[in-house]
């Protein structure tokens, strides 16, 4: 039985979650609560020593990193629904897009998200409680990010991230003006991985992502939201909260 550990259908966690819904794979879905630092508990660090979701466990083998998990599911479970081009050039184009999400797009959006929500999320902890939680984080850079989120990010960092977000949505809209999907002719992991970050920006970043400024990006977001697998994923969240915690 496949076991998937996520924070639910948003950001990096959404990538493998949507992939398993699209492919119709039978997967035990485990949802961790970031506000309780569940991903930094000993039981989860026994699965992923870096203390990060998503993580996939397949018959005892642990696969980490959202994009790597998505390609693993394609490699290991060739279903009727294929989310990767058959030709080498199409695969390369797909990988340029998924790499761009991981190295650029997800970071700027994530920092603004942390700025808006993570500070509030941990406001209930005393300084001592918070520091104890932070000490359990295995990745030094993540410790820095949690502390910054609590203290408040410097304004110059926030400005720079907003500049990158504006550049990113422009880039996506320009490309989607001429293409139905990111890789021409096929819905692929490139769409899933970018959608995981872009979906919701029409609300959270409405001044940048809207029908006037980015009509093609909005069309593409709506197109993906209309897919049966995407609807089923969001519906199941409501019904079952995507499974047990552990």
């Amino acid at each position: 039985m496949l076991k998937l550990y996520t924070f639910g259908p948003a950001a990096n966690s959404m990538k493998p979650l949507l992939t398993v819904f699209e492919k119709g794979l039978d997967v035990e879905k485990n949802r961790l609560d970031p506000s309780k630092f569940e991903h930094h508990t000993d039981w989860f660090k026994a699965i992923n020593p870096r203390g990060q979701v998503p993580a996939l466990v397949d018959d005892g083998k642990v696969i980490t990193e959202s994009t790597v998990i998505c390609e693993y599911l394609e490699d290991e479970y060739p279903t009727e629904v294929v989310l990767r081009p058959a030709d080498s050039y199409g695969r390369a184009q797909m990988r340029v897009w998924t790499k761009w999400v991981d190295e650029y797009f997800c970071w700027c959006v994530s920092t603004i998200g942390w700025h808006r929500y993570i500070g509030k999320m941990v406001a209930g902890y005393s300084d001592a409680e918070f520091e104890e939680k932070v000490k359990a984080i295995p990745v030094v850079e993540q410790q820095v990010k949690w502390r910054r989120a609590r203290e408040g990010f410097p304004q110059d960092i926030l400005n720079e991230e907003m500049r990158k977000i504006a550049y990113s949505v422009r880039k996506l809209d320009d490309h989607l003006a001429d293409h139905e999907w990111l890789v021409p002719g096929q819905y692929t992991l490139a769409d899933i991985c970018n959608f995981a970050i872009a979906n919701g920006m029409q609300f959270g970043f409405a001044e940048l992502v809207n029908k006037e400024a980015t009509p093609h990006l909005v069309r593409w977001i709506e197109q993906i939201n209309a897919r049966p697998a995407v609807k089923a994923m969001f519906e199941q969240v409501e019904l079952e909260k995507l499974g047990p915690r552990k």
Copy 2:
């Protein structure tokens, strides 16, 4: 005919270069001169609008991003020499390592390299000449990096990058203590992509990478340098400077 554009056998350029040598592929090798900003000229930006090497042209199709090019070569040219595990879990392990190079290891080493060499490399340009070159760079973040390299990186950035380098070589040495290759049992793109960054650190970062501090990492670097394809690659550089400039 495959055409490969690189700066020669170092850093990201080495990844596809070594891959074609290992696979014995017949490739036209074009070497650009970074000190002349050849990668930001119009003729090269017509190939890669981001003005970055390496780039591969295969029958008119352009493939960019060093790691993506390596996987493309494996996908499109299944030679006797196979540099990617046959099983899905092995591929996932390989991709976690190549991703780590691209997102972490290459950046800290690169910044110190820029600090040491790029400032000197462009010292012969006047401020006006330098600014004209920088304006031709299509990626904003790269413009910032060139300017910083000329002015001098802030000390706190250099300290942080050195901390990351120390962490990186420790991580590699610890893993290689128990494994001949990064992915157990097979020489893969994980080794090639990490070697592209790690080779030479036994000289440039001798205080961190040496037989006492990191014996397993040094053993692995020597082991790769002893491969016929690696020797042939470095020899060809001396003989032919790896091809024409254009």
